[in-house]
């Protein structure tokens, strides 16, 4: 069940009878790991990152030294060509990868809810890439894309497509990452399969009797009923795509010519290779605001297209 749908109203304490303090204390005690964790590992760091974003930092053996520099870091965020390139790369990746992932995983789910044989085998097969450790899959895909000995060019040659340089070509490196991300859509697929299983068969049959063809049934019944899950997958996929890191670090380390330098990779470099932690925090805050902004905007826009059954 998508979180956005979750009935938090259930939690309303409807009875007005006084709760003894012992119950309160027990409640806080049992919840204390979360409350402490939230304060120490989430809330404080977010605030600290904001403070850092206004500092020039040096990290040496004596520890971290900071000096207030006002908006200088943020000015650099908006003028540094590398930062702009990283943001462009990230946006490019997200804009193409996310819709393609959704279309692909939805189609797979539709296919795997048909009365096929060996359905469980197919599902497991499409889900398997999610199980492959991220580092291992990056290592393998680096070679899948290899111009001479990779399986992608080998596969494409069956169809007469000439060999491409993929990760060594600045125009094809980002598409290569997008292509790789389509291999990892098992989770979205499983969510869609679960949702498709909940669509009442009687609705589809009734539409059939009324003369609706397959296309109409998909667009007029299945899709509208699936919008909550499409929305859910969309939100999660966008958050994840904006933060792509591990494959980029391992497969290309940002190259060629910074064409796969994504935002998080840039933040990692600034923070942990160049030790500009103040500037890196400003970059992180920029990305943070963009991702949160997108998420909130989507919740807002979703009121127009997501259909919730009463």
């Amino acid at each position: 069940m998508p979180i956005s749908q979750h009935p938090t109203s259930n939690l309303f304490m409807t009875n007005s009878k006084r709760i003894p303090w012992r119950d309160w204390l027990a409640g806080y005690l049992f919840a204390s790991p979360f409350i402490i964790g939230l304060l120490v590992f989430v809330a404080y760091p977010i605030g600290y990152a904001l403070w850092l974003a206004f500092q020039k930092t040096d990290l040496d053996f004596g520890g971290l030294t900071t000096k207030f520099v006002g908006w200088a870091n943020f000015e650099k965020v908006f003028t540094d060509p590398i930062a702009q390139q990283a943001l462009y790369n990230t946006a490019y990746y997200t804009v193409f990868a996310v819709p393609l992932q959704l279309i692909f995983s939805f189609s797979l789910a539709m296919m795997l809810t048909q009365p096929l044989r060996f359905r469980d085998f197919y599902r497991a097969g499409f889900y398997l890439p999610i199980i492959v450790p991220v580092v291992a899959s990056a290592v393998v895909w680096q070679r899948v894309f290899h111009p001479d000995y990779g399986i992608l060019n080998d596969f494409l040659s069956w169809f007469g497509v000439p060999a491409q340089k993929w990760l060594f070509d600045k125009n094809l490196a980002k598409p290569a990452f997008i292509f790789m991300s389509l291999w990892q859509i098992g989770r979205q697929m499983v969510i869609f399969i679960a949702g498709l299983g909940n669509i009442p068969q009687s609705l589809l049959e009734a539409a059939s009797i009324d003369g609706a063809n397959a296309w109409d049934r998909i667009t007029k019944i299945t899709l509208p009923l699936m919008t909550p899950l499409i929305f859910y997958n969309l939100v999660i996929a966008i958050i994840a795509s904006f933060q792509i890191f591990t494959p980029a670090l391992i497969m290309t380390d940002g190259g060629p010519e910074n064409s796969t330098l994504f935002s998080v990779l840039n933040i990692y470099r600034e923070g942990f290779l160049f030790f500009n932690m103040g500037y890196a925090s400003a970059l992180a805050w920029e990305l943070f605001v963009i991702v949160i902004g997108f998420t909130i905007a989507q919740f807002y826009i979703s009121q127009r297209w997501v259909y919730y059954e009463e």
Binding site: Y48, A49, R187
Partner: protein, 294 residues
Amino acid sequence: MSINKKTRQLLSLTALQIFATLLVLTFLMPTLWMISSSFKSSTEIFVVPIKWIPDSLRWKNYVDAFTQPALPMWDFIKNTVMVVTVSLLGTMVSSVMVAYSFARLQWPGRRLFFGIMIATLMLPGIITLIPRFIMFKDFGWINLTIPIIDVYFPWLPLVVPPWFAGTGLYVFLMYQFMRGIPDELDEAAKMDGANRVQILTRILLPLCKPVLATIAVFGLIQYYNEFMEPLIYLSKLDSWVLALGIRAFNDTNVQNWELVFSASVVMLIPVLVLFIVAQRYFVQGIAMTGFGGR
């Protein structure tokens, strides 16, 4: 007419069956290629067109991968097992506690904190990366040698946050499940004089086994996969986890693809076995929450 329709349906299903088979084979290709190449010799890897079945299974690749002096694979494996175990244990204990509080206890602010927990599921984690690093550095946890007993333990930044319900998703899963257990059970136990800890551990937890298994499976995959945090926290080679080891292995063996592949297969095997054994918990968990895996 109806026979015609039936044959048409059968035909399209058959076509779909063939299509699905081809597609799933394509999907499996990178993984199969990785496994097959891990048994090849160098000369078999660098041939065009690709040779899918090696002449003989070179188990030696695996031996070589493990005996490279530059990268102590056994240490990486030991470290990984330790980090994953401690993190997972913390996740289970803290998730159970917090979920119990949200699902069963009455306290002011409960709704607020629950809402915040849901919101943190959508929090872009990158924002806490740098400040957490500085914070842990201030704590003295980075490259820590525990004083008095003089034990080198640089993994605290990785294994401590899970003890504080670091992943709200697992609390949420647990919470959902506990809400489905009738309150009357608690009440009855209370009548019999059980306290809250007893209610939780003796009454609720035994009923929560399926969801505990789901959390264990997801958590295991998550901590096993963790790359970015070990990358910034673990600087000394002998403290590395497998994920870092494979990456370094990849960087240092540019020519020896077969070794890189066999090292990757080594990292894949445990999760693959887990997937085969516990498949239903994966599917159950994803269907319940929409998250999971990594």
